[in-house]
């Protein structure tokens, strides 16, 4: 009986210690004198592997999600004779929810897991310790550029996702199912607000970018440096980041649109 209570206590303590370690890692990686000339090429390299290489999956899934929204929305709206409202339906659901959230989920799977595995392997093969031996701070050299790359890339990816998705909805709704083109765009324009919808979507994706990248880096940096440990850390990145994104999305939606 007491053993079980002790086990519970250990789990709680471990979780709190993990959160503390993650916080310390983030603060030490981000706070300090900026060295633009040294960190700029590193940032570019990471923007490439985190952002540019995620572009294909983002564009393709954005297109298909937009097309599915167009098809399903049309089927529902045509019963009410309201197929003119297809434009705002597609645009609002993409800008407010699906753009930031699906991008964050895909980003956690595509880039977050790669970050965790890469840093975990660096730790297992003692590359991080070697950096420290050479008086190079691994937090500044390895963690910080990856964090900023994720933080800058994901809002851009979310914007691209929404834009491509709206185009996908346009393809299905207007080109295939024959919704009037003028009505599609003009009803969309009269319902989508710059500050209310687009800006809130960008804020959401910034929050998700912060959380997903942070979790991925923390899981990699503090993983158990064995092959089992790295595989667990990678899985845990995807699971934790996805849950965090979905939970935060509810809170943000309640704050913004509630």
């Amino acid at each position: 009986m007491l053993d079980k209570v002790a086990a519970l206590g250990k789990t709680v303590l471990d979780n709190i210690a993990g959160a503390g370690k993650a916080m310390v890692m983030l603060v030490r990686a981000l706070i300090g004198k900026p060295q633009l000339r040294k960190s700029w090429p590193l940032l570019m390299q990471q923007m490439y592997s985190v952002g540019v290489l995620s572009l294909i999956i983002i564009i393709i899934s954005g297109l298909f999600i937009g097309m599915v929204l167009g098809l399903q929305g049309y089927k529902i709206l045509v019963d009410f004779g309201a197929e003119q409202s297809l434009g705002p339906m597609v645009a609002l659901s993409l800008l407010r929810e699906l753009g930031p959230v699906v991008t964050a989920l895909l980003f956690a799977g595509r880039a977050g897991s790669a970050l965790t595995a890469e840093i975990g392997l660096m730790k297992a093969t003692e590359q991080l310790s070697s950096l420290e031996m050479m008086a190079v701070d691994p937090l500044r050299r390895v963690i910080s550029p990856r964090f900023w790359a994720g933080f800058y890339s994901m809002p851009l990816l979310a914007l691209i996702f929404s834009a491509v998705g709206i185009y996908g909805g346009y393809l299905v709704g207007v080109r295939w199912l024959g919704v009037d083109e003028g009505a599609f765009w003009s009803v969309m324009q009269s319902n989508v607000e710059w500050g209310q919808d687009i800006l809130n979507g960008i804020i959401k994706s910034l929050v998700f970018a912060f959380v997903v990248t942070w979790i991925a880096l923390h899981k990699g940096y503090h993983c158990v440096p064995t092959s089992v440990g790295i595989s667990r850390a990678t899985t845990s990145t995807v699971v934790t980041a996805s849950l965090a994104v979905l939970g935060l999305d509810f809170v943000l939606t309640a704050l913004m649109f509630g």
Binding site: M44, Q45, A91, L156, L159, A163, Q189, E193, W194, I198
Partner: protein, 155 residues
């Protein structure tokens, strides 16, 4: 060269992102009215505003000239007071103008229809903060049905 290709790819990535933002901003969002800032305010008291909301459009002959910016209850008798923000482009309404709460379509959203009044030497123009006196309230479906039943009962 490796680094240059990387930089090129990242540059294109950022450009595509900004283009997506521009597409969303210009094509999907309503930037036409809320963007150009010069506005002035008019007020109108109604008996009943029906389903009017903040941000509902104010239209003259179907053309959007402004939006409802605030709805409060005002005065001793708690009459709904609607504040309308009108674009400065249209600042020549006389004080004989009238406003009514209308519905677009049978079940559509409600908006304010502004009908410009006549202009001659004796009437003044509406300025920022003026009240429009001539108002017609929203048609409430339940009231209409009630009146209809009442008139049926009289026969």
């Amino acid at each position: 060269m490796e680094s240059r290709n990387t930089q090129l790819a990242v540059g294109f990535f950022v450009i595509i992102g900004v283009l997506a933002l521009l597409f969303l901003g210009l094509r999907a969002a309503n930037t036409s009215f809320s963007a150009n800032g010069e506005t002035y305010k008019l007020y109108a008291k109604f008996d009943n505003i029906g389903g009017l909301k903040e941000r509902s459009p104010v239209k003259v002959g179907g053309v959007v000239v402004g939006r409802v910016s605030n709805i409060t209850l005002d005065g001793e008798y708690y009459e709904p007071l609607v504040e309308m923000t009108i674009s400065k482009k249209y600042d020549e309404f006389s004080n004989t103008s009238s406003v009514s709460v209308l519905t677009s379509g049978l079940l559509g959203e409600q908006y304010i229809g502004l009908s410009p009044g006549f202009i001659d030497d004796t009437v003044e123009m509406l300025d920022d903060g003026d009240y429009i006196q001539d108002t017609k309230s929203a048609l409430v479906l339940e009231d209409l049905i009630g009146q209809f039943l009442f008139s049926q009962g009289n026969d």
